[in-house]
């Protein structure tokens, strides 16, 4: 796989991240714009309707998250609320101590992203620049961490963290998720560093640079765009992660945003707007990240790593 393709594939991951820059075709064909015709409009309208159906759940969560419960019962879920009622949102926020969950998620996702990126860079430096013997197999083994179902690791991890005093601690989950994420990072960065311009490395060596200096002063600055893309993915993946945080962080004070939402799906069902408000609380940070990170991702994708 080429570096470029890997980067692009990674950008739209199934775990939920941000799309690459508009790859607008702009293929100017003779008078294409004039050939809209009826069929063109039919296709456009059909697609637009489907697209609106896709975002309908977001809209519904938005208008009902602020709707007074009484109004919901009277006029149903479609109507625009006549007054903004923050009580459901506030109840949820206070009820689950959402500030705390946000803090936990930020700490966990941020630490995992940075540690995983550092681990990936070190391993990829050895594999991509050091051209370790048997690197194909090393990479294949690392990829197991990416494909293996976490169910096949969770009980031993539960036992091991308990024995080491890391169960129900942020430290424990940060280490575990960082190692798991770094598998993908190692794979991707090894490919990037494998294509690192040889002349640059040779020049650095001729100048007497040690391995550590090559890593810190040559490789790191030149791979920064790719690294920032990786850090962003790791952050979002960790933010969305559900299974391991659910099991390894059982107490309310350590829960993440995702887990706190997933755990309440069993309750609350008698209050018609509570779940809408909760969904809204979960949607908001995701939207914020989408808006913040979009530019970093575009930049990383456009540079397509070093080539």
């Amino acid at each position: 796989m080429t570096v470029d393709k890997l980067t692009r594939n990674a950008v739209a991951s199934p775990d939920g991240s941000v799309p690459p820059a508009p790859s607008a075709p702009l293929r100017q064909r003779g008078g294409a714009r004039t050939r809209r015709r009826v069929s063109g409009w039919v296709v456009l309208i059909t697609l637009s309707v489907v697209a609106l159906l896709m975002i309908f759940p977001f809209w519904i969560a938005l208008i009902n998250g602020f709707k007074p419960a009484g109004e919901y019962i009277q006029s149903g879920p479609i109507s625009i609320p006549t007054e903004l009622d923050f009580s459901a949102l506030v109840d949820f926020w206070r009820g689950v101590d959402f500030n705390r969950k946000l803090l936990n998620s930020v700490v966990i996702s941020g630490s995992v992203a940075l540690i995983a990126a550092a681990l990936s860079l070190l391993s990829a430096f050895a594999i991509g620049i050091g051209k370790l013997r048997g690197r194909v197999w090393i990479l294949a083994v690392f990829m197991v961490a990416f494909t293996i179902p976490q169910e096949a690791l969770v009980y031993p991890l539960f036992v091991l963290t308990r024995d080491l005093g890391l169960y129900d601690t942020l430290t424990g989950i940060i280490i575990i998720l960082a190692v798991l994420q770094s598998a993908f990072g190692t794979y991707m960065l090894s490919s990037v560093l494998g294509a690192f311009p040889k002349e640059v490395l040779e020049a650095a060596r001729l100048d007497g640079a040690s391995r550590r200096q090559i890593l810190g002063r040559v490789v790191l600055p030149l791979t920064r765009p790719t690294l920032s893309v990786l850090v962003t993915f790791f952050f979002i993946w960790t933010w969305n992660d559900f299974f391991l945080p659910l099991i390894l962080l059982p107490s309310a004070k350590n829960q993440t945003v995702s887990v706190s939402l997933g755990a309440l799906s069993g309750q609350y069902t008698s209050d018609p707007t509570a779940l809408a408000a909760a969904s809204l609380a979960g949607i908001l940070p995701a939207l914020v990240f989408f808006l913040i990170f979009q530019r970093t991702l575009m930049r990383g994708v456009n540079l397509g790593a070093i080539k």
Partner: protein, 316 residues
């Protein structure tokens, strides 16, 4: 494999004054982490799968009993049958629809209505992808709610009371309701990825075909589908693996129910671990799932490298 063919042996010696083995140090942190978080736990999991253990006390070694029992366990087979449904919902259907939507946006909508229109539509399709799955689950669970949920309310408001359903509570219907959520989540991923792939395709191919009188549909079949093969392979691999491992949507939406109608291997092993505390049995389920996912991933990867240009030639 690791030679640097472009350089003569002498030049190489003079450039690398250091021992190449020194690079091994840089892989130590990653390797130790991998050992502690993946390799040792997976080994322990396999060991557990050969025991009867409730999580407390000492595991009793029972050999392959758990696996033998699995073969006759209807829930186990149901969980894999459901996995097949979710491969359809997360891999096959979104890929098919995604290719079509991406192609329409890319060479039908964009040339006629501008790149802006197609970018906006693409963003709308993508939006569900930004949600944590747990949040998506809560949202849909609320929409599926039988009494006041939006779907049933909508049916009633247009006089179609007969279409009101207990979407997640009816054991014949629940799996389709879950599939619907997964499709909703996945389509954005495939659309975005395929559109990125299409920008790689040489426009001259389409222009030549158009001059030869090929219609849109013909060009889609003969050019787009063929040119997108690498992307289609990548999407099918990643989404099939994700579908086999699906857990969070089941946990949030149905907890495998009603009965075992939406149970999946991941949830089945989870409930053995932590609900019924049959750790050995749960470990056996997880081991089978791990083997299956690995086999499928390797098989798809080999198929992909054989049919597309695959990896670059630098020994990787």
């Amino acid at each position: 494999m690791t030679s640097l063919p472009s350089m003569s042996a002498r030049a190489r010696r003079s450039l690398t004054t250091e021992r190449p083995s020194g690079y091994w140090w840089y892989i130590v942190p990653g390797a130790l982490g991998f050992l502690a978080v993946v390799l040792v736990p997976f080994g322990m999991n396999i060991f557990y799968s050969l025991t009867a253990w409730s999580g407390v006390g000492d595991p009793q070694f029972v050999g392959l009993d758990n696996y033998a029992q699995l073969m006759g366990d209807a829930t186990f087979w149901t969980s894999f049958r459901n996995s097949a449904f979710f491969v359809v919902a997360m891999a096959i259907f979104p890929t098919a629809i995604g290719v079509l939507v991406a192609a329409v946006l890319f060479d039908f909508i964009a040339p006629r209505f501008g790149a802006r229109t197609s970018s906006l539509l693409r963003a709308l399709f993508y939006l569900p992808q930004i949600l944590p799955i747990a949040v998506a689950g809560v949202l849909w669970k609320w929409m599926y709610q039988p009494e006041y949920g939006i779907i049933n309310t909508l049916f009633s408001s247009v006089g179609l009371d007969g279409l009101r359903q207990n979407w997640l509570g009816d054991s014949d219907l629940a799996i389709y309701s879950v599939m619907n959520v997964l499709i909703w989540l996945q389509i954005g991923y495939t659309v975005v990825l395929f559109m990125a792939g299409l920008s790689r395709v040489d426009p001259a191919l389409h222009e030549a075909a158009e001059l030869d009188g090929a219609g849109w549909w013909q060009r889609f079949r003969m050019i787009t589908l063929v040119q997108l093969r690498p992307e289609i392979a990548v999407v099918l691999i990643t989404t099939s693996v994700a579908a086999l491992k699906v857990f969070a949507p089941i946990f949030v939406l149905t907890r495998g129910g009603p009965g075992t109608s939406t149970i999946v291997p991941a949830y089945f092993s989870f409930s053995n671990f932590f609900t019924t505390t049959r750790v050995g049995y749960g470990a056996a389920v997880a081991t089978v799932l791990a083997l299956l996912v690995t086999i499928i991933a390797v098989a798809l990867l080999r198929y992909q490298t054989r049919t597309t240009e695959g990896f670059d030639d630098d020994g990787r």
